[in-house]
């Protein structure tokens, strides 16, 4: 078995084990107080561990690329984004698993999460520009602009009616802002993600494809998780929270696998 296949297997097993307690809860087998404890620790530990791996691999990749390589800046931005995201997750984990308090919303974690989005968006757009300069047949700039425009249009068409009820629910202004801002930023991230997916799909069967398949799948799952979070919070459906945790765990695992794939490609 190749190193890449072994890494795939490890991530698959680890992420499936991490989501099992949440899937059992959704299936009506919460497991009582011990089940709550398992979910608290496994959920927080898994999210933080996957984000830490993503951040570490991104830092390593940035270091491995040469000074004049455009991907060095891309991976530096990814690293900054993942470190900031991991800091936000660490704040949430501290509230829940250390202080044994329900994490407040909004909290310092949201400041970290909000800061990470511009970094990740910049990283994704830089990657598109760098890939466009390879001279490889990845499509024309016009095609990429068309893909981005189409996804942006769909995001507006889907996002507006979906988020309108979320914005209308009476809540403190900052809470309302964040409930709308997260999905909006996620939808913004989906624009470069779609362009990169269209590029990356041409690399199917190679290691480059695995890097982007992981990263892009992770961003899509994060977007779904944030939209579900906003909706379930607005509708008061706390019983569906496990589904949000499943989305985030799988998202962070996919991102970590993608980032680690890039690091392994460079070594």
């Amino acid at each position: 078995m190749s190193r890449s296949a072994r890494t795939d297997l490890v991530f698959l097993v680890a992420s499936l084990l991490a989501v099992v307690p949440f899937v059992l809860q959704l299936a009506g087998r919460p497991g009582g107080p011990s089940g709550d404890e398992v979910r608290l620790y496994v959920g927080n530990a898994a999210k933080l561990a996957f984000l830490a791996i993503a951040a570490g691999a991104a830092i390593g990749s940035a270091k491995q690329f040469e000074r004049d390589n455009p991907m060095r800046g891309t991976w530096r931005l990814f690293a900054a984004g993942f470190v900031t995201f991991a800091a936000g997750q660490a704040v949430l984990g501290t509230y829940q698993a250390v202080l044994r308090l329900p994490s407040p919303f909004p909290s310092a974690a949201d400041a970290f999460f909000m800061c990470s989005y511009p970094l990740l968006l910049a990283a994704l757009f830089r990657a598109i520009r760098a890939y466009g300069a390879t001279g490889y047949p990845i499509g024309t700039a016009f095609e990429r602009a068309g893909t981005g425009g189409a996804v942006a249009a769909v995001a507006v068409i889907v996002g507006y009616p979906t988020l309108k009820p979320v914005a209308a629910i009476p809540a403190p202004p900052l809470e309302t802002f964040l409930n709308v801002a997260y999905p909006v930023l996620d939808l913004a991230v989906l624009v470069p993600v779609a362009i990169l997916l269209r590029i990356a799909v041409r690399f199917r069967g190679g290691e480059v494809w695995k890097v982007w398949a992981g990263l892009l799948a992770g961003f899509v799952l994060m977007c779904i998780g944030d939209i579900l979070f906003a909706h379930f919070a607005a509708l008061g459906r706390a019983d569906l929270d496990p589904l949000i945790h499943v989305m985030y765990i799988l998202a962070y695992a996919a991102i970590a696998r993608g980032a680690l794939g890039q690091y392994q490609l460079l070594k």
């Binding site: 491995q64 690329f65 040469e66 390589n69 455009p70 991907m71 760098a130 890939y131 300069a133 390879t134 001279g135 490889y136 047949p137 041409r202 690399f203 199917r204 069967g205 190679g206 290691e207 480059v208 494809w209 490609l265 460079l266």
Partner: protein, 86 residues
């Protein structure tokens, strides 16, 4: 001198683990076209091969870094040399 098609098959075989076979072949063919290298029924000169590998390596730098790209190009050259010797 080697057949261009044979050289391309070697190149594609070495690049496929990184780029996937479709992209490896498409990239090699696209660069052949840009460099004016005839693929079907023609031989590839040493200069043409070096120019083609240089172009492919420039793109590979973005995906795997310069060091790894140079290693891959070295492996392709070694494979070509072995093929020519046999």
């Amino acid at each position: 001198m080697a057949k261009t098609k044979d050289a391309l098959d070697t190149i594609v075989g070495m690049l496929s683990p990184y780029l996937g076979e479709t992209m490896a072949r498409a990239a090699a063919l696209a660069h052949c076209q840009k460099l004016g290298i005839v693929v079907e029924g023609a031989d590839i000169s040493r200069e043409q091969l070096d120019a083609l590998l240089r172009k492919l390596a420039q793109g590979m730098n973005i995906f795997v870094g310069r060091e790894k790209a140079a290693t891959v190009v070295g492996e392709i050259q070694a494979a070509m040399a072995a093929r020519a010797a046999s």
